[in-house]
């Protein structure tokens, strides 16, 4: 009862009228106030609503397992993380993999490589494709998270999640994409098929890099909210929505190469709308996630 009274009594109506995010912050705060954070609830929350940017890093860290659910141990754990970060960084510096001139992103990459035991023998070795993915993600993440320790940890866990948790579902996404595109606009799909562009769409960009470098970070973080909270399907809908938004242009293009090129460099101005629509679409097709407990 006390919790309810703390909430704004108008909150019921906000959602009816269409305002979003007014009450979310409050409810999130209530969630975060708990001594022991309920990870499930946080997941549901972040899937349903966009996260307020001031809590995004915290929530992500909790969701990604960087921080334990208990508030008490946050400080200590964070200390450990920091130390680990500095240790690794120090080690890299010692072995002269990293110098002052090295970019922060590359530092993250080297650190990740080191931690995963994949550090090449020499920094001059060519990068693997997965390293490129890491670089793209870390580049985007660098914009979103200020603190470098947090940033490194989030990148690391995010990439680990992609590699472990979504290892099986990511390859399925192109098929799902075709399916939903057919439901939304079969003509467009047939056009793509006639252009034989379906197989050449930038799936790597979309699904492996999670649109890093494709969408601006302000929009991208909303997508990643969902990805972090455990749903990689949102990526499919973002891709579908991109095609729907640029349908006219895509229809005008006839060759697969042109379409792919265009999709790799879509204009940034409408990305916010695309993401909103994509989330709506995702909710429409997959249903609004409800906290099971």
């Amino acid at each position: 009862m006390t919790e309810d009274s703390q909430r704004n009594f108008r909150s019921v109506y906000y959602e009816k009228v269409g305002f979003r995010g007014v009450e979310e912050k409050k409810s999130l705060e209530i969630l975060l106030k708990d001594d022991c954070l309920d990870i499930e609830k946080l997941c549901t929350f972040s899937q349903r609503f966009p996260l307020p940017s001031m809590y995004r890093a915290l929530v992500w860290k909790v969701l990604l397992g960087i921080l334990p659910p208990h508030h008490e141990s946050h400080a200590q754990v964070m200390k450990y993380r920091k130390e680990q970060y500095s240790d690794v960084l120090h080690a890299l510096k010692v072995i002269r993999f990293v110098s002052e001139a090295t970019t922060q992103v590359e530092v993250y990459l080297r650190m990740y490589q080191l931690e995963s035991g994949k550090l090449p023998r020499s920094p001059s070795f060519p990068l693997e494709p997965e390293d490129e993915v890491f670089l793209a993600i870390s580049k985007a993440m660098e914009e979103m998270v200020e603190d470098s320790v947090d940033c490194y940890w989030i990148i690391r866990c995010f990439v680990n999640q992609l590699n472990n948790k979504y290892r099986d579902s990511l390859p399925q996404l192109p098929k799902a994409f075709e399916q939903y595109l057919n439901l939304e606009d079969s003509r467009l799909l047939t056009h793509l098929k006639t252009c034989s562009a379906v197989s050449k769409l930038p799936y790597d960009l979309w699904f492996k890099r999670c649109f890093a470098g494709c969408l601006p970070e302000s929009s991208l973080q909303r997508v990643w909210d969902k990805v972090v909270s455990g749903s990689c399907k949102i990526l499919v809908f973002v891709a579908v929505e991109i095609l729907l938004t640029f349908k006219i242009k895509v229809m005008a293009l006839n060759s697969a190469e042109k379409i792919t090129k265009f999709l790799e460099n879509i204009p940034q101005d409408s990305s916010d709308a695309i993401v909103s629509k994509a989330i709506d679409l995702w909710h429409k097709h997959c249903g609004t996630p409800v906290h099971s407990a």
């Binding site: 397992g65 334990p68 450990y80 240790d87 690794v88 010692v94 931690e115």
Partner: protein, 1163 residues
């Protein structure tokens, strides 16, 4: 030009004697005319005609079609303007107009009309004037509506020409004047007939002037005597006459007939529709005339009625006394009576009705008397005229007398109309006479005719007079023949329709003609004679006559007596044709074209033969006539002779003179003389003659035109008759049908009556049957009623019975009820009875018992009295003992109750405690979970850190190995050894530093943990050492050696372990085994810690249970002790408080409990 030349050639070819060529050329021209629309060809044709008088050209011109009419009229107009060509062009115009071309209505608009009128007003040539006037008269009925514009012109022309007739300006010959006069007369008739009001007003205005008065008296007034008063003068007006609507309904021939109707001149008049009758009647019955004229048709119908009402009488009179014909017979009505006797008197034409001009029959009956009279007269003197007055109507005798007077004295008081009438009436008879004479002449004498005429007019004339008389006679004859022809045609005409007519007509007419002869033969001589010549004439005429039935002068020419003259004339004409081509052309044409053109050539020939006498005669005659007319006008106010009459007479005179001369002279010789010897007749004479011829021709043509109009009219009337006959036939057929139907009706009526009779019979039968049935029904009804009554009675009885039964039933029910009730009562009573019986038995038994008990009582009483004194002391003792015992027990119960209360309280307390403890336990568990989670999180972080460290070390090692590899590669062995040791030392040092850093944190942690335990463990020396020693050993082994040394002995196992660690570290060997070795140790450490944690949890649980149980048992024990203490008082109470302290097992338990307690305190 070539074409023109070609045209010229063709024109010349037109007159070629070859008939074939002529036809071809005509065809060519017609084709040209059809194709060419220009005026040139027409102009050429007109010119050519004017030059040559070519007949084929005339034929072509008269049959010109629509587009060329304008050119033709223009051309004619052009030539009319020229004096030289005027005459011939006018005659051409006349020819054209008489054929009534389809474009005749255009004449009124054509410029020709004004120029013609102008010409008539200006010209002075009589021939031209006469021709022009005749053309105008012919034209007027065709263009009646043009009167509006040119009416005054017409009147002016009339005024001018009429004055001419009197004044004779210039050198005009008398002969011409006769012709002019005739044409003016015709114009008068036409104008008066067409525009009476205007004309009369013109006459009034024109002749009111003094200078014209004479003309009026001399010329116009006599003319007016020959016309009736025009009905339009009464009903019409000047404007109405000129109204084109009036004329629209009338065709040309209608107009002509209209004009003829109002004429009283027999030569001019048309005796149609009872007009002539009225005329005749008016002549005889002036008082009646108005009636008849007012309703001519009514008259005929009246006469119809008369005829039908008195057919036999009239017939009888007719048969017996033809002379005594009643006036009714004179009406044409009788002809419709289709009785054969009637037909004997009347010609078949009358039988068939209105086909012929109906006037002639009207004329005939009164005239019928004349032939006989004449015949008788001729044979038996003047007896007949005396006889006829008695029978014939009053005017008839007058007329006859006048006739004779006139005959005897032509210049006497006989008025021309009288004479006219006389001739009129006399004509038939004369003719017949003539025929008779002819017949006779043919049979007996050739010159009998002259004798007859002479005998008719004995010794009245001198040389000239005789001549004149003969001429007059001839003229009369001509007129008669004309009239006769009318009759004969009337008679002959039915021959035409006979074939076409229906059978009744045919039948009627044929027997009529046959009977005619019989009756004629039987009745009278005259009658007998009359038909014969008719038949003969008919026979002579041959097949042509029917067709030419309407030609008035056709019979005379065909007549037997004139045939020789005709022959001769033809010869002469042929001869003259050689002499003078222009006039001769007409006669042959006439001769060829019409069988009638005999008289004019006759006249012409005569004049040719005897020019002087003719001239002289004409002049004289005209003078005489004029004088006569004057005299008439002045003295008697009697109508003058008609100009036509005069003209006729002139011609007849000429013919007569000629015939006379012919008898004397041989004309051929004369002609031969003239031609051969160049003895050409005086040019003046020739010219006059020619002109006269021309005039006559014109006149003739005009008359012919009129005839044609009449023919048209007649044809129309004939059609009407045919229709009427057909209708009559239809009527008859209808009547027959009607009769048949009436018969049918009769038959049906009879059958109806029969049917009715039968029906009535049947009805009667039916009635009887019905009555029988009715009676039966009545009887049956009666029976039925009886039965009904019976049944009703029975029903009432039945009702009664039923009621009784119901009552009985009710009674039965009541009785039953009673029975039941009584039965119930009975059963109750019986029960009561049985009850009372059983009670009685019981009573008896009880009584017995009572008795027994009483005995027993008595017995006991006896016993009691025996034992009562010994028991009181014992009882008292027993009572005291009993009381004590009771008290004791009561106290005990109290004690027990108290104890129970306390124990219950204690139980409650313990239970609440237990619940609290459970709650605490739960909370503890939760917290433990939390902490575990927290620890795990931290542990994970640490682990990851450790992992990182491991990776770092690996990397470092890799780096080092790499460096080593490089160094070895350098291949400096000596240096290598030295540097090796140094590097090993450096590595050792570094490793130590690293381990220190790590162990510091670990030690801190362990110390924290051990600090917890240490506080509680320190007071307990021995027992805790065992458990914590291992831990302490672990901690000490990882911590510095100085600290761990004093406690080394108990932890012997850990000692060698650490020493070995130190040894391995100390050894300058590869680092891999050390890491391998260190791994399990660290693992074991962590695992131990984890295990400890887990074990703590499980142990503490177990311990807690144990504690609670033991405490429970303790408390229970104490309570029991208390209870027992209460029971057993002191001993039990002493045992209670000191049970637990000396427990040997409780030390371990205590430790655990302490641990728990400390945790309690913490939380």
């Amino acid at each position: 030009m070539a074409q023109q030349a070609n045209v010229g050639e063709l024109l010349s070819m037109l007159d070629s004697p070859m008939l074939g060529v002529r036809d071809d050329v005509t065809a060519v021209f017609k084709e040209n005319l059809n194709s060419d629309r220009g005026p040139m060809l027409v102009n050429t044709l007109v010119d050519y005609y004017l030059d040559t008088n070519s007949q084929p050209v005339l034929h072509i011109l008269t049959t010109l079609q629509e587009p060329h009419d304008k050119h033709l009229l223009d051309k004619i107009n052009e030539y009319v303007g020229k004096a030289t060509t005027r005459l011939s062009i006018l005659s051409l115009l006349g020819h054209v107009i008489r054929l009534q071309p389809s474009w005749k209505h255009k004449l009124s608009q054509a410029p020709l009309l004004p120029s013609l009128l102008k010409c008539l007003k200006m010209d002075t040539d009589v021939v031209v004037l006469t021709t022009g006037v005749l053309v105008l008269i012919t034209m007027l009925p065709m263009i009646p509506q043009s009167g509006k514009q040119h009416l005054l012109d017409f009147f002016d022309i009339f005024g001018r020409l009429s004055s001419w007739c009197l004044k004779k300006p210039g050198h005009v010959a008398e002969v011409y004047l006769v012709h002019l006069h005739a044409s003016v007369y015709a114009l008068f008739h036409r104008l008066y007939g067409m525009y009476p009001c205007n004309f009369v007003s013109f006459l009034r205005s024109h002749y009111s002037m003094k200078e014209n008065l004479e003309t009026f008296e001399e010329v116009v007034k006599p003319m007016m005597e020959h016309v009736r008063i025009h009905p339009e003068l009464v009903t019409g007006s000047k404007d109405h006459e000129l109204d084109p609507r009036r004329w629209k309904r009338l065709e040309t021939h209608d107009v002509v007939i209209e004009c003829a109707k109002i004429s009283l001149d027999p030569t001019e008049a048309s005796y149609e529709d009872g007009y002539s009758v009225s005329h005749q009647i008016s002549a005889r019955f002036p008082h009646r005339s108005t009636d008849v004229t007012a309703s001519p048709y009514v008259d005929t119908q009246n006469s119809y009625g008369n005829a039908t009402s008195t057919p036999y009488s009239t017939r009888l009179t007719l048969l017996n006394m033809p002379g005594q014909l009643p006036q009714s017979l004179s009406s044409p009505s009788t002809r419709l009576i289709s009785e054969p006797p009637q037909a004997t008197v009347w010609s078949p034409s009358m039988v068939c009705g209105m086909t012929t001009p109906p006037t002639s029959p009207g004329n005939v009956p009164p005239d019928l008397s004349h032939p006989y009279s004449k015949v008788f007269g001729t044979t038996g003197g003047k007896g007949t005229p005396l006889g006829t007055p008695a029978t014939s109507p009053p005017p008839a005798p007058l007329c006859h007398s006048d006739d004779y007077v006139h005959n005897s004295l032509p210049q006497a008081t006989v008025t021309p109309p009288r004479k006219e009438e006389r001739t009129d009436s006399a004509r038939p008879c004369l003719h017949r006479q003539h025929h008779l004479a002819n017949d006779r002449g043919l049979e007996e004498l050739s010159g009998s005719k002259g004798a007859v005429t002479l005998s008719d007019l004995p010794g009245f004339l001198g040389d000239l007079a005789s001549e004149e008389d003969s001429i007059e006679k001839d003229k009369e004859e001509a007129a008669i023949s004309k009239e006769l022809s009318e009759i004969t045609t009337a008679e002959a005409e039915p021959m035409v329709p006979r074939g076409g007519f229906d059978s009744p007509f045919y039948r009627d007419s044929l027997p009529g003609s046959q009977r005619k002869t019989h009756s004629a033969a039987s009745s009278a001589q005259g009658a007998c004679v009359n038909p014969e010549p008719l038949h003969s004439s008919l026979d002579k005429l041959g097949p042509d006559t029917p067709k030419q039935a309407f030609t008035p002068i056709d019979l005379p020419c065909g007549g037997a007596d004139e045939s020789p003259a005709g022959d001769r004339e033809r010869q002469t004409s042929l001869e003259t044709s050689i002499l003078t081509p222009s006039p001769c052309k007409i006669p042959p044409q006439r001769a060829v074209g019409f069988g009638s053109g005999q008289l004019p050539p006759y006249d012409h020939l005569f004049e040719v033969a005897l020019p002087k006498t003719a001239h002289h005669f004409i002049s004289k005659k005209t003078e005489e006539l004029l004088r006569k007319a004057k005299g008439n006008a002045e003295e008697d106010f009697m109508p003058s002779t008609s100009p036509l009459e005069v003209l006729d007479r002139l011609i007849q005179q000429g013919a007569d003179a000629h015939s006379k001369e012919l008898n004397k002279l041989s004309l051929p010789s004369k002609s031969v003389d003239w031609t051969h010897f160049g003895g050409s007749p005086p040019s003046d004479e020739i010219r006059t003659l020619r002109d006269q011829l021309l005039l006559l021709h014109n006149q003739l043509l005009y008359e012919r035109f009129k005839r044609q109009q009449h023919a048209l009219r007649n044809r129309r009337l004939l059609r009407k008759v045919i229709k009427a006959a057909a209708l009559e036939e239809h009527n008859a057929a209808m009547k027959d049908q009607l009769k048949l139907q009436e018969k049918d009706i009769q038959i049906w009526k009879v059958s109806l009556q029969k049917e009715q009779a039968r029906y009535s019979q049947l009805q009667e039968q039916r009635d009887t049957v019905v009555t029988q049935l009715h009676s039966q029904i009545r009887q049956l009804q009666h029976d039925r009623e009886e039965f009904y009554n019976q049944s009703q009675e029975l029903q009432t009885k039945l009702e009664d019975c039923r009621n009784m039964i119901a009552e009985l039933r009710i009674e039965l029910k009541k009785a039953n009820n009673k029975v039941c009730h009584t039965e119930l009562l009975l059963s109750q009573v019986s029960q009561k009875l049985s009850n009372s019986e059983s009670v009685q038995q019981q009573m008896e038994f009880l009584n017995r018992q009572l008795l027994v008990l009483g005995e027993v009582n008595e017995l006991y009483l006896e016993q009691l009295q025996n034992k009562h004194s010994d028991t009181t002391k014992e009882v008292e003792m027993m009572k005291a003992a009993y009381r004590k015992e009771l008290e004791k027990n009561r106290n005990h119960v109290l004690q027990q109750n108290q104890r129970l209360d306390t124990s219950q309280k204690r139980i409650l307390e313990l239970e609440s405690h237990l619940a609290k403890k459970d709650h605490l336990l739960l909370e503890q568990k939760k917290y433990l979970e939390d902490v575990k989670l927290q620890a795990r999180g931290q542990l994970q972080a640490a682990e990851s850190r450790y992992e990182a460290q491991k990776r770092i070390t690996q990397v470092f090692e890799l780096e080092i190995l790499d460096l080593y590899g490089r160094l070895e590669k350098d291949g400096l062995l000596k240096k290598l050894e030295e540097e090796k040791t140094e590097a090993a030392e450096a590595a050792e040092e570094r490793l130590d530093c690293c381990n220190d850093g790590c162990s510091d944190s670990m030690v801190g942690h362990n110390e924290g943990a051990s600090g917890h335990n240490g506080e509680t463990k320190t007071p307990r020396p021995g027992s805790t050492r065992g458990s914590s020693g291992s831990r302490g050993g672990g901690g000490s082994s990882s911590s510095s050696s100085e600290l761990s040394t004093p406690e080394k002995p108990p932890s012997q196992r850990a000692g060698p372990f650490s020493s070995r660690w130190e040894m391995t570290m100390g050894e300058p060997s590869t680092s891999i085994p050390t890491t391998v070795g260190s791994l399990p140790s660290s693992k074991s450490f962590l695992g131990m810690k984890a295990r400890e944690l887990f074990r703590n949890k499980s142990e503490s649980q177990c311990d807690e249970d144990g504690v609670t149980i033991s405490s429970l048992s303790d408390s229970l024990k104490t309570e029991l002790g208390k209870d027992s203490g209460v029971e057993a008082k002191t001993p039990l109470n002493l045992d209670g408080p000191h049970p637990s302290p000396p427990n040997p097992d409780s030390v371990g338990q205590l430790r655990i409990m302490d641990y728990n307690e400390t945790h309690h305190e913490h939380s």
